[in-house]
């Protein structure tokens, strides 16, 4: 009979969780589903927080699900959101390439989809909101060229290969370096999870092979932070310029404190709000452009502090 006791207990736990969930229910009838790729990543978490904050202001119920990086989990979760009769879906795809399956399912149920950060190539969302990564990476590249006087050896700590952000940031950065022949990419290696400890290990190995590296580009702030740590540990006799991308909280702090030299701050708050506004517009049958690419802001020690207080 222990099992019965167990299940009663867990039923109570579930009921408690249910209350927590329904307590947040708003007066307004609109319900919008937010499917996040991975809440462990600060970038996604920031978007989530801004969507939820904007929803609360407007009295719209936001149901958030977290796929923890697994595409199959995300398909199931979106299935549940559709069952829940959401009015619109904000979809931040998990996995290397965005899956079209959830968009198809939502469309079949007559639910508009706002794709954020990545867009399924086969079945794109009704609108797509992302940073113009190519342009932003190019801006970053130009800045690097300018800071170094046009010479240097670059080590690139890549993100997960095959993902859209990795490809776009590579394209933009290389475009900038094309106009800056004195700077050469001497090493590049991919990480799997965009994590700081990976960045540290990869950069350390690069410095071992080539201590003459003068520039590190981490494809995300966490990777750049790892690289900066590796540089510090290596005790080099020359300065190394370390730049990142994303402008997440840890990255901005590091830029403010001079640990990183620059990053490109994505407008996560703006994107979250824009995603919610687009979703409402789509529900109301208004026209929304198919792509709404946002610029990112070059952030150095001069403007980092401001962004920390008031993230764009």
């Amino acid at each position: 009979m222990n099992r019965v006791f167990l299940t009663t207990t867990s039923a109570i736990a579930v009921a408690g969780a249910a209350l927590l969930g329904t307590a947040a229910q708003a007066q307004d009838d609109l319900t919008i589903g937010l499917a996040v790729a991975n809440l462990q990543a600060d970038f996604f978490n920031q978007i989530k927080q801004s969507v939820e904050a904007a929803g609360e202001e407007q009295g719209i119920e936001i149901i958030t699900v977290d796929a923890a990086g697994d595409a199959a989990t995300q398909v199931s979760q979106i299935q549940d959101l559709i069952t829940r009769e959401i009015d619109a879906l904000i979809y931040i795809p998990a996995g290397a390439t965005a899956a079209g399956v959830p968009v198809e399912a939502a469309r079949a149920a007559g639910i508009p989809v706002v794709a954020v950060d990545r867009n399924p190539p086969d079945v794109p969302g009704d609108t797509f909101i992302a940073t113009n990564s190519v342009a932003a990476a190019q801006e970053l590249g130009d800045w690097v060229c300018e800071q170094t006087g046009g010479t240097g050896r670059v080590g690139v700590v890549q993100g997960q290969l095959g993902t859209t952000p990795e490809i776009d940031r590579d394209t933009g950065f290389r475009a900038a370096l094309d106009d800056c022949p004195g700077i050469e990419i001497v090493a590049q290696q991919a990480s799997n999870m965009w994590m700081q400890d990976e960045g540290f290990a990869i950069a350390q190995d690069m410095l071992l092979r080539d201590p003459e590296i003068t520039i590190f580009f981490g494809r995300a702030d966490a990777l750049a932070l790892g690289a900066a740590q590796a540089v510090q540990v290596a005790n080099l006799d020359h300065d190394v310029l370390v730049v990142g991308f994303d402008g997440d909280f840890a990255g901005l702090e590091a830029v403010r404190d001079g640990v990183l030299d620059a990053t490109m701050t994505q407008r996560t708050q703006g994107m979250g709000r824009m995603a919610l506004e687009s979703a409402i517009a789509l529900i109301n049958g208004e026209d929304v452009p198919a792509e709404q690419l946002q610029p990112a802001t070059l952030t150095t020690s001069e403007n980092a502090a401001g962004f920390l207080e008031n993230h764009p």
């Binding site: 222990n2 167990l6 207990t9 867990s10 969780a17 996995g95 991919a190």
Partner: protein
């Protein structure tokens, strides 16, 4: 402790009859029913045919993996490689059909064979090299994940023919998709095998004690390799189902699925010590996990609270199971 056992011996007192025939899933079943009742009252969306079918859809991959894992755990082993083998098999299928134009039907068969081969290697490491199952399958977990990435240099393969993706998406007779059907058929076959065939019954002997099993004339090594190979083949099958569901093959698929699978099997009443477990219990365990995350999603419970709830349910299930065993 001394005297009560003497007492048992003296009187031949009848203790709980415990045919490990699969009736041990009664407790988890009560739990599942309770969960369903709670969700039915708290969410208007839960108790609908469509949602029930959704849940079946959602647990198919986990369920197929859990069948193989049940057999492995009954023998007293563990297979940590199911998620990686799933990814490797699904990549093998996509790679063969994409790069070499192998007909998809044959590529599907190859995916299952790939899984079986991985499992057989694990089984041989355990029986011939005498590695503990935990270590052998931990090694296979890493190797298979690496192989899955090597095939396409880490890229995923997107876009299968529509007849293939319809396996997961089209509900025949408004009821069953092909993948759910495959899951149900696998469950029935496994149930029959474990209950009515000597080969299945022998797994319980091996889990109870490999030495007793061997002295009883059971070819323990052969059976062990077979069990891991079958678990691998089922991982391959699950990989096919997942590819149909995602309309793609991803080398990163199935990360940490081994833990979900083990949790489902253990919630279903199996003992990691071996010799105890049933397919019926496992199905209930799989459904508990599926219903729990489905219901919590429907209730719009925050993802962070969901993690806590699911963790608590697993801990409670196993705690009461061990306590119950000790009290016997």
């Amino acid at each position: 402790m001394v005297a009560p056992s003497e007492q048992d011996q003296a009187t031949g007192r009848l203790t709980i009859p415990s045919f490990n025939w699969g009736l041990g899933f009664f407790g988890p079943l009560v739990g599942l029913v309770l969960l369903c009742i709670v969700f039915s009252f708290t969410s208007e969306y839960f108790f609908t045919t469509r949602n029930a079918l959704n849940i079946l859809d959602q647990v198919t991959v986990l369920g197929i993996l859990a069948i193989g894992m049940t057999a492995v755990i009954i023998t007293g082993g563990i297979d940590l490689s199911v998620g990686s083998v799933l990814a490797f098999s699904m990549m093998m299928m996509g790679w063969l059909s994409r790069e070499f134009g192998v007909p998809l039907e044959i590529a599907m068969l190859c995916a299952i064979l790939t899984g079986a081969a991985c499992g057989a290697v694990s089984g041989l490491l355990i029986t011939v090299a005498r590695l503990p199952p935990f270590i052998a399958t931990l090694a296979m977990m890493t190797v298979a994940r690496g192989l899955a990435n090597i095939l396409t240099d880490g890229r995923q393969i997107v876009g299968y023919p529509s007849w293939f993706t319809s396996f997961a998406t089209v509900r025949h007779f408004d009821f069953l998709s092909v993948t759910v059907g495959v899951f149900i058929v696998s469950v029935i076959l496994a149930f029959i095998y474990l209950r009515y065939r000597p080969g299945g019954r022998n797994l319980y002997a091996i889990g109870g004690s490999p030495e007793v099993a061997r002295l009883s004339g059971i070819a323990v090594k052969k059976v062990t390799v077979g069990v891991y190979a079958m678990c691998g083949a089922l991982s391959g099958l699950a990989g096919i189902a997942l590819a149909a569901r995602l309309n793609s093959s991803q080398p990163s698929a199935g990360l940490t699925y081994e833990l979900d699978t083990i949790a489902a099997v253990v919630i279903g009443g199996a003992s990691l010590a071996g010799g105890v477990g049933s397919i019926a219990g496992t199905v209930v365990g799989v459904l508990i996990i599926g219903v729990l995350s489905n219901g919590l999603n429907l209730l719009a419970v925050s993802p962070f609270i969901q993690m806590v709830v699911i963790g608590c349910v697993i801990a409670l299930a196993v705690t009461f199971d061990t306590l119950g065993r000790r009290n016997r």
